[in-house]
């Protein structure tokens, strides 16, 4: 049976370049970057080279990059630090959106318990925040605007440059969770007036367990972990040297091939949309144009997402869904609800996220197995029966 990995928004395969770059640091180059002898300094130089690579990819300075364990840590850190700075000035208002990743939403919920006020902006039917809403929401109390670069479920890309401009003119810190965007679309933190940015290595062919926080020079970043001089004394703990080396290589490779990758991957994605849209009672989630190159998100009425993805799994296709049953809770994903989908429609969601390693054959295979699975599930679905009855009534 064919194996098709179409869940690149969840994680990606480690690239050959990354693997080769990491290997020496798993074997002979095991020195501690904090050690002063030259064996340790080799590891130190490797970490600093990666820091420069990450900075270059984002248009930042080397000393503005802090390595973390991943995107969630970077998000938690950024929000905590910005809140602390706000609190010192007596500003306890934060602006965000309804469809952020839980690393943001749950940190904001924790801050709310500590007395912060949070405005969660609408993202409308197309899954894109309105810059005017951001501007209107800013008050004298606002200490931070945090809005994701691109959504992890529906892939919609936010007007980050415009939001950056507004925040800069109002003197409010601007953080963006760019976990889904880095390595896939062009980012320049200076040009876009981004003060803080979170990224995660395994979303673009580095390994799991490594990420980074960009924090503009001049912003006092609160210490996250005490006990050592690593990461300018802000985050103690011996560095994940192999992971960091891989992150540097991955971000350099991806940035060098940004345009050709986007062209290739979005062409595959469009082929997928075109084929899957032929399935009746289906809809594309989120804006069709302003979205990540590899993101495909659709809802199919009358079927439930978990069943759909498990049946795809039986055919060798790795996919994802925002149904309640896959989240382990009652409600379908907050992202799908935030764009106004009804519960019963959101339960039938399917996310396929393509990457550079996918091929046309992969897409054609998905388009071959998907329609019969949906048909089979609809055949045994009383909900589908109800939908058909309703339609027959309307047409009568």
């Amino acid at each position: 049976m064919r194996f098709v990995y179409a869940d690149n928004a969840a994680t990606t395969a480690v690239s050959e370049n990354v693997k080769n770059a990491i290997l020496p640091y798993l074997t002979e180059q095991y020195g501690n970057p904090s050690s002063l002898y030259s064996f340790g300094q080799t590891a130190f130089r490797a970490v600093e080279k990666a820091r420069q690579q990450v900075a270059d990819a984002l248009g930042a300075k080397k000393e503005e990059i802090y390595f973390t364990s991943g995107g969630s840590e970077a998000d938690n850190w950024a929000l905590r630090a910005a809140a602390k700075l706000g609190e010192k000035k007596g500003k306890k208002h934060i602006i965000s959106t309804k469809f952020e990743h839980h690393a943001i939403l749950h940190t904001l919920a924790a801050l709310e318990k500590e007395g912060f006020k949070v405005t969660y902006l609408d993202v409308y039917e197309n899954g894109i925040v309105k810059t005017q809403d951001v501007e209107n929401a800013i008050t004298d109390e606002t200490c931070l605007v945090t809005i994701m670069y691109a959504n992890n479920e529906i892939g919609t890309v936010q007007p980050i440059s415009e939001i950056g401009k507004i925040c800069q003119s109002k003197g409010v810190l601007f953080h963006t969770d760019a976990v889904q965007a880095v390595g896939h679309i062009a980012i320049d933190v200076k040009e876009q007036n981004i003060d803080m940015l979170s990224l995660s290595g395994h979303k673009f062919h580095a390994t799991k367990g490594v990420g980074a926080l960009y924090c503009r020079k001049g912003i006092l970043l609160e210490n996250l972990i005490h006990g050592g001089a690593q990461e300018r004394g802000r985050r103690a703990g011996t560095e994940n040297v192999p992971g960091i080396v891989g992150l540097g290589v991955a971000i350099t490779d991806m940035t060098a091939h940004l345009e050709e990758n986007a062209k290739k991957v979005s062409a595959l994605r469009d082929r997928l949309f075109e084929g899957a849209s032929k399935i009746s009672h289906s809809r594309i989630n989120g804006d069709r144009e302003s979205r990540l190159p590899g993101n495909f998100s659709m809802c199919f009425e009358g079927v439930e997402g978990e069943s759909l993805l498990l049946m795809l799994d039986m055919k060798g296709v790795c996919a994802s869904s925002g149904s309640a049953c896959t989240s382990g809770s009652l409600d379908p994903s907050h992202v799908l609800l935030s764009i106004g989908l009804k519960h019963e429609v959101a339960h039938g969601s399917l996310r396929l996220s393509l990457g550079e390693y996918n091929t046309e054959e992969d897409v054609d295979y998905i388009l071959e197995v998907l329609p019969p699975i949906i048909e089979r599930l609809r055949d045994m679905s009383p909900l589908w029966e109800h939908i058909m009855e309703e339609e027959a009534k309307k047409n009568a």
Binding site: E304, S323, C325, K342, H347, M380, S381, P382
Partner: protein, 143 residues
Amino acid sequence: MEYSEKVMEHFANPHNVGVIEDANGVGEIGNAKCGDIMKMYLKIENDIIVDVKFKTYGCASAIATSSIATDLIKGQPISEALKLTNKAVVEALDGLPAVKIHCSVLAEQAIKAAIADYYTRQGLDPELYVGKLDDCCDLHDHH
């Protein structure tokens, strides 16, 4: 969260899927908002369930519980089918993840709803035989 082999087996190849055209007891429980609906069709002769079929909209465990529950009551007298508990359904599937227990309750309730419909069609008060049925979304409290 992981499903047992038994659950995956019943999900991949569910037993008794479909409709009984001349069913004399039909029950539907759950709603679309919650993400699961089960519809049971019974053919009852002389108080024996001679045939049973189902249609289910929902996750893998909802489909698997429907499948095994129909297996368990097929050929049984009504009195036995009414004794089927969600616990027995869970055991027959070699367990369900905690967040999916409500699916087994749904299967138990769907069978009861179909039997209640049978009694109603016979001109009898179903509550005397089947008792009160739970509302679907309350079932989720079993999480």
